[in-house]
Amino acid sequence: MKRYNTHTLALCALIVILLVLIVFAPSYGWNIRRFLTPNSGPPPDEASLAAENESLKAEVAKLQRIAGEVSRKPISYISAVVYSRYPLNFKNELLIDAGKNEGVHEGSAAVFGGIFSGIVRQAFADTALVQTIFDNGLKIPVRIGARGYDGLLQGGPSPTVRSIAESAAVAKGDIIYTAAPGIPYGLPVGEVVATSTSADGLFQEASLSVAYNVDDIQAISIAP
């Protein structure tokens, strides 16, 4: 009987310790999970070159479209390390080690290798949750190509740009860049790989290629 009580008390103590860890020190859990997660290593050179190429294309498109109208003030990014990732398949989110105390706020743009990667969905004191473009819930206005056709980026495992005017001359290889309030204008998102007509026949849709693998993201920059 006495042994049973000792076992019960030990279990209760362990439960309390775990509750304290979950509430006050979740970073230990993140570190254990990160230790068990395979590391893809640095992105290959081709990915870096593709990202650089997309950045340059976006810059050219931006300059052709709005030369002289947009402030050329450089953006001072906040660097952050990825602590953990959403572990299930409903969302695609990253937890980063910069939060309100570092100047990160909800709606800030997250950039990886110069490419727009997502939006800060929730900012905590020293951490923040980034909703990536691979999350079904992400929707932001974008522009396409040198003519700057408007579209709506719909996140998901295969992100697409929707609501493109039927008359827009969107072609394969056109750069897609950000045009949303609260996000620096002209951040590259990806390149058009194919276009199609929407189910209702009123708009065009474009599927895009992204110059990085979301699993490669170990560090990210936040535009405050």
Binding site: H7, T8, A10, L11, C12, L14, I15, L18, L19, L21, I22, P26, Y28, G29, W30, I32, R33, L36, T37, P38, S40, S84, R85, Y86, P87, L88, N89, F90, E93, L95, Q122, F124, T127, L129, D215
Partner: protein
């Protein structure tokens, strides 16, 4: 002996998490930790089940805030534990039925629309979870004797 069983439980949970992370790396999203927790509820008492569920939550948590997802990691194993005490079914049948139902309920509770649009993904998860849960169940059976 009870502590040894509990340590084995934690170890199996860690192996499930590692397997889940490796599969996720290859873009195969599965819920092996939840399946293992449900399987464990057949062999542990209520406090041990709660403890293992909290270990699972501690390892799976991805943000410094509560979430419905992780709330289900304690509700479903406890539901399975209760069901197992009420329905006196054959252990293997009960385990497989409970793991399968648990995974389906998890998807239905969190994202019913996701359930409709991603049936192949969910079937993959269901198969992998049943396999992992059965494996965990057989290991728990061996350590119980």
């Amino acid at each position: 002996m009870k502590i040894f069983r509990l340590l084995v439980g934690v170890l199996i949970l860690l192996v499930s998490l590692a397997a889940q992370e490796w599969l996720a790396f290859f873009h195969i999203a599965v819920n092996l930790v939840l399946a293992t927790l449900i399987a464990s509820s057949f062999y542990f008492d209520i406090l041990e089940t709660v403890l293992l569920a909290l270990v699972g939550i501690f390892l799976m948590n991805w943000q410094p805030a509560p979430s419905i997802e992780l709330g289900l990691f304690i509700v479903l194993p406890l539901g399975a534990w209760t069901l197992h005490r009420v329905v006196r079914w054959q252990p293997w049948t009960g385990a497989i039925l409970t793991i399968g139902t648990g995974i389906v309920l998890f998807y239905l509770a969190l994202a019913p629309r996701f359930f409709v649009g991603n049936l192949p993904l969910i079937l993959t998860d269901l198969c992998a979870s049943l396999l992992a849960g059965s494996f965990a169940f057989s290991l728990f059976t061996r350590t119980a004797h």
